[in-house]
Symmetry: C2
Subunit: 243 residues, 2 copies
């Protein structure tokens, strides 16, 4: 079972104050880039893996999705999502992505934001998602970028010109990474970019687009701290299609 850090009270208290949790999708600087990857949503059946507070689930329904099924490991998340949602077309369930099974060909879009790096058995998950998508369906997900995750000590340093610099080591050595983020020892799984993409291709997905999120000039003008995201990508966005 994946580590359930989101039900750790300290973690949850800190995490709940992130702009993307307080302000929803508009609080996530990568949201415009995600939107550009999403297919037409009208009358689509959507599964959201790692749905958190349900911000995206409600947005999918606003765009005309016929139904949204949201899954999260965290009871805190699911309870808050249910409390914040008044829509019979959305259902939330507690589930572990290490073992979740979805019915075959039952969805037109599987969506997941910043969750897959908590999953150890990525290949099993992608095979299950591929089977759960109807032909012509799409998988759109975001994940921490392996450049961001690889190092033993992933923290900004300065180069000899005083420029912010991100350290990379252990890139090819996949597996557990533990970092302190609202709580000690948050457990994630590092995979190379090649492993992520080759798993999708090997499962039968056609890769449609990859984004290594970088803020726009307008975003940096509004939120100057985002400029550091130009130095190294923190997340990647992937769109893949089931033929």
């Amino acid at each position: 079972m994946a580590q359930n850090i989101y039900d750790n009270p300290d973690f949850f208290a800190g995490y709940s104050q992130l702009p993307r949790q307080v302000d929803g999708l508009e609080g996530a600087p990568e949201w415009p880039a995600i939107r550009a990857l999403l297919p037409e949503l009208a009358d689509r059946r959507v599964a959201d893996l790692g749905c958190g507070f349900g911000w995206a689930a409600r947005w999918f329904r606003d765009q005309g999705a016929s139904s949204v099924l949201g899954f999260d490991l965290s009871q805190n998340m699911i309870e808050r999502a249910r409390a914040d949602t008044d829509d019979a077309g959305i259902e939330y369930r507690i589930a572990d992505l290490e073992t979740l099974e979805l019915p075959e060909a039952a969805f037109d879009l599987v969506y997941s934001a910043l969750t897959f790096h908590y999953v150890w058995d990525f290949e099993r998950l992608i095979r299950m998602i591929h089977a759960a998508l109807a032909p012509g369906g799409d998988l759109v997900f975001t994940i921490e970028h392996p450049i961001f995750m690889a190092a033993a000590h992933p923290h900004w340093t300065l180069d000899k010109d005083g420029r912010k610099t991100w350290p990379v080591n252990g890139y090819s050595l996949e597996g557990e990474r533990r970092t302190d983020w609202f709580a000690k020892g948050v457990l994630k799984y590092h995979r190379t970019l090649a492993t992520t993409l080759n798993t999708l291709i090997g499962t039968g997905f056609a890769l449609r687009r990859l984004e290594e999120f970088a803020p726009t000039a307008e975003q940096i003008a509004e939120i100057p701290e985002l400029a550091e995201e130009l130095e190294r990508p923190m997340m990647m966005l992937v769109s893949a299609h089931k033929r």
Copy 2:
């Protein structure tokens, strides 16, 4: 026109002593990984963009390729390739990949090793290659990895545990990078991994496989210096298919 550093005498003298130039394909640790990406070669028409001394061109013919056309910007390279080759099925030409035009649907495989990072107009090149491939043809290339190329000062440092660490900055800022490698100011063009892959997909290629080269345990046992390649990928290998 691309910088013709290979005809700089100092550069050429140093470069010619690299194991991969002295020993050929077997001197390149990524060669087994490239071989695994290559399609069946019997009776295939091959173009090699950045053919250097012609090591790969001769190997393709050994594997049964019906013809190989090798291109290189460097007169030094082409002269040496011609001198080392005794095969009417191989032709070498001097050409700049910024402007090279190939006949349409004339090749079954376009191959390129560690050359595309010298090319500024990658999209033009990929469109030209796509048109030059027959339907069902393959593009297999290697390129310096953007993790390796991005930083203003790309040199090993040590983290607080004394572990070799590679600096990344400027990752999302594409364009010129100048490094000193056998000569001062060798000019390369940094592109994100997303740009490279999206250019292929946008041009009509189906991505088949991506490798971020890492040495095997056997290779490290034989050449211990290769261990550092586990810390960050120096090159990526791409296989793409024209449907």
